[in-house]
């Protein structure tokens, strides 16, 4: 590996819905110390990492993924002109289609990435989980696509109440009766569009596993955890690492079947009889990825090495019993920071233009 590696990282806002970028950055810093230079790619002047101490070396605003691959690539090249990048690690779901499209161009310009391919990304979609679970040989709650609200009653007969209604990409609600289902249908469909998915409710304990696949079927490392504190949206606010060989074995089989390339998070459920059910696969590292690093399995660093074409040996399993609690606190900035980001789209280590104050 070169002496100093410059890595751009997206998803750097730790708000109500925390993004994975900061966890990825801390993991890289832990492994590389001074040998890594972090360029934060932000979507808003108020993305929290912009003002956090010791996270970013440089920062740039980038176009929203919806602006399309051409605009995104152009901006990355502008940044590349100022600060030569060795790699970029996108951390948000919505960015993946854009990065898949521009990956070839990036690599041609010396910027490495390590992303799931289109096919894998499609194969982990919520509506394809039953197919995937069948291939892997695990269970997944019976799932049906729902296009119209008058299908909800027969779904109730079929799945029994309660069942879970989910948006194709985000959003999930447990519905306890037909009236409840009707009203949640309207609100979820309004927010996330159709179809929704109706999933059998399986009683049991939920676990999350963060993994890294090498793209050839090997899982280079993984750590499982249980959530100990929840946000209102059901995300982890606190967690503890666990040692459950069955969960890791499940993850290994999923990664092998998908030939997953890059980081991902599996949501798994153990029913009362001990059976494991696959609930969801998120195609990127979770916001809590630093917990895995703290447990001795530095997956973001592994991903960076894979991106740079370096050898990556399989990680040992992580230590169980490492706890984490998200610690939200105010970080502060100056008007000069805001000015530079707002008007120049960057906050670099160069001194910003002076303010005139009358």
């Amino acid at each position: 590996m070169k002496n100093t590696i410059t890595v751009a990282v997206t998803g750097i806002h730790l708000g109500e819905n925390p993004q994975p970028g900061p966890g990825v950055i801390r993991s890289l810093r832990e492994a590389l110390g001074d040998r890594v230079r972090i360029v934060g790619l932000a979507y808003d002047v108020l993305d929290s990492s912009l003002y956090a101490p010791a996270l970013l070396d440089e920062a740039f605003l980038v176009p929203y993924p919806s602006a399309g691959p051409v605009a995104y690539l152009k901006r990355l090249f502008e940044i590349q002109q100022q600060i030569p990048l060795d790699a970029v690690i996108p951390c948000l779901d919505l960015e993946l289609p854009v990065f898949q499209e521009i990956e070839g161009e990036l690599v041609a310009h010396g910027v490495q990435t390590f992303l799931p391919r289109r096919e894998e990304l499609a194969n982990r979609a919520k509506d394809r989980l039953p197919e995937l679970a069948r291939c892997v040989g695990i269970q997944t709650p019976e799932t049906h696509s729902v296009f119209e609200d008058h299908a909800l009653a027969s779904l109730g007969d079929r799945l029994g109440f309660p069942y879970v209604l989910k948006g194709l990409h985000c959003g999930a609600e447990v519905v306890r009766g037909l009236g409840d289902a009707m009203s949640q249908f309207r609100s979820l469909a309004g927010k996330w569009g159709l179809p929704l998915l109706a999933q059998r409710y399986v009683e049991g304990e939920e676990f999350d596993v963060v993994c890294l696949g090498d793209g050839h079927g090997r899982m280079t490392g993984a750590v499982a955890m249980r959530k100990t504190l929840l946000t209102r949206m059901g995300k982890a606010w606190g967690a503890v690492t666990i040692d459950d060989p069955d969960l890791l074995d499940t993850a290994r089989r999923v990664v092998r079947t998908l030939r997953w390339r890059g980081g991902c998070e599996l949501e798994l459920l153990r029913d009362k009889k001990g059976g494991i059910h696959l609930i969801e696969i998120n195609p990127r590292f979770p916001a809590w990825v630093y917990l895995a690093t703290a447990a001795g399995v530095n997956l973001p660093y592994g991903l960076l090495r894979l991106a740079l074409g370096e050898e990556v040996c399989s990680f040992d399993k992580g230590r169980a019993g490492v706890i984490c609690v998200r610690h939200a606190m105010e970080t502060t900035g100056t008007l000069e920071d805001m000015d530079a980001l707002l008007t120049q789209g960057t906050r670099s280590s160069l001194t910003p233009p002076p303010m005139t104050h009358a």
């Binding site: 605003l61 929203y64 919806s66 602006a67 499209e101």
Partner: protein, 471 residues
Amino acid sequence: MNSSKPRYEVPTIVRNASGLMNKVGHRGSLESRTQIDGVDVDSLIKDFGSPLFVFSEGTLNRSIDEARLALEKHLPQSQLCWSYKTNYLGAICAIFHRSGSLAEVVSGMEYEKARRLGVPGNQIVFNGPAKSEAELQRAIQEGAIIHADHFEELRLIERIAQAARTRPKVGLRVALDAGIVPRWDRFGFSLESGVAEQAARFITDSPHIELGGLHTHIGTYIVDPRAYGRAATKLAEFAEYIEATLGCRPTHLDLGGGFASTNSLATQYQSGALVPRQEEYIREIGRALAQQRGAKLPVYLETGRALVDDCGTLVSTVLASKRLPTGRNSIVIDAGVNLLFTAWWYRLELQPCCPSDGFIEDTTVYGPLCMNIDCVRESVALPPLSAGDAVLIRPVGAYTFTQSMQFIHLRPACVLISESGDVELIRRKETLEDLIGPEIVPERLAIERARSNLSDHHDGLRDVRSGAVVQ
């Protein structure tokens, strides 16, 4: 423009709104562009006026080539049929026919249009739920490839055939569940409910008609190519089933249109640049059909928007810029929803033709209609634009000209830029004659009479004002 002085920008101050502070956030469309296929936009406007539909023959040829290459690779026994309603400007249709496409029409008007362009009846695919008796008579006589939509049509065709003592082939439009929404099951005969089989039996039982092809069109702007694999499988299995049970082999499978174009749907987050390429859809169809055991039938495709959308640009001119009471910036341009019906469901791209290094703002773009509905984009990042600046709106090759209307303004000219860079007029600007030509004003409402009524009325008013009370 003179001098090295900077261009004047209207002085502007906007309050920064939290959650929206990203100067480069929307910058996709900000590239300024002064030419289309090497032709200056300014000269196009000077020669043909604004607004102006501009079609690029080069872009169109490349997208047809892309389809042909993919078909050669994955579906060697196949045929493109140009979906007239997507864009039935004569020159555009002619480009398709020159490259070997059949015509796919859904009305007597479109049928006649294809015939006048020189397409023989037996190279016209006649679809749609509304074919009249006279239109069917002609189509049958000329050997058109007919896909029937409902039983009334089948009975009508049977009667026509009986009277004409011919035995035409009649295909069936099949509605099937390819796992996508909305399901276009209002068209044709439903496969899953068994009605399609009944329709096939109706044909094979009849002494007057024969079974033609099986057709389906599962919807439009489908972003999941696998839906085509499912549709192809179902249609092919149905064909096999018919052959096995009714002893009659359909002549072809027609998988309709519906591949997504690079336009961005208003309801989708991602840019349209990320939709699957034509080859990805065609590959799915090829894969699905390769797995079928039965006879390999020729495949027809009626791809519309994916082929033609990209080649169309609407050149428009800024009439005014206006700051709304909310503080938001807006511009008024000379093309509105009268020309851009597609603006209802697409986030059409707007590219300025002037330098775009000014103060970028989220801007609302209004058209020229004196109606509140006339909004081309609710919000798009634009540099400062002033009256007279040209903007390019794209892609507008599909469904845009065909759905444009003469509401409040007449329709503008259409030009084609050839591969060699020549600009050819392919539809002249409309005149008032085009609009009022078909109108008839009843004699009793003739203007002479109206004028005398009007002056009576005015005289009365004058009398009232002057105090004279007229009974």
